[in-house]
Symmetry: C2
Subunit: 155 residues, 2 copies
Amino acid sequence: MKNKHMQQAIDISLQKMEENCGGPFGAVIIKDGEIIARGWNQVTSTNDPTAHAEMVAIRTACKHLHSFQLEGCEIYTSCYPCPMCLGAIYWARPDKVYYANTAKDAAHIGFDDAFIYEEIKRPPAQRKIPFQQIMREEAFRVFKAWQEKEDKLEY
Amino acid sequence: MKNKHMQQAIDISLQKMEENCGGPFGAVIIKDGEIIARGWNQVTSTNDPTAHAEMVAIRTACKHLHSFQLEGCEIYTSCYPCPMCLGAIYWARPDKVYYANTAKDAAHIGFDDAFIYEEIKRPPAQRKIPFQQIMREEAFRVFKAWQEKEDKLEY
């Protein structure tokens, strides 16, 4: 199945890789049939480990829409989202995601996507990066304050 | 166990929540005993669904260090990272993460962290946000071009 929006995401992935912006990843976000955001990997060129194609596209689309939600939008990404980008997609709540390459394909060319998916399944104490819980009682007081806050904007 | 860095993360979470920046979440990043970055949730105030406390802190720390890696750094976050932030932590590769509230605590006050962890475990086709694969062959050609690229900067 050929699709012009996915072709655009793939074209961006190649072009920006050739321009040494970062890894070979591109994404576009579509609303009402029109592109409202383009994204490409910029990790190494901007020293930002969060600057994946989908993240950049989501941030741009939300800025364009003046909203932190992407209802009515579709994301086309040249590769299946890594856990970070998958999480961002869930927070942004688009209607649908189309992807081309898989997490295994990304692993095959040297990216950690599949490894991070494995790590997420492990208990915090058994992970490669150690996680330790401290001071939950003090922090939970702030959560209670959020619950009681009357003028909060939920998301 | 009391810890001054975690106390700072918790203090930020309360202060920025009260200033209506976003949800009740704060983080600090420490290198050689010093704070090199502070982060707090800014989702609703900046219309950016990716602006979680850890994300903001990681981006700030990397800018400070002129690096896309956080070797030698520790992250203190007032709540266990959501899947997006956990992914970002794996890409940034700090030495250790300390957290206070749990993902269940976050769910208890109305945040989707635990739900997104559940969704990640599901096959793409069974998720609440539908994922569909198209045009893998075309996209994989770009991955091959990355493999063959001689001047690539890996990350």
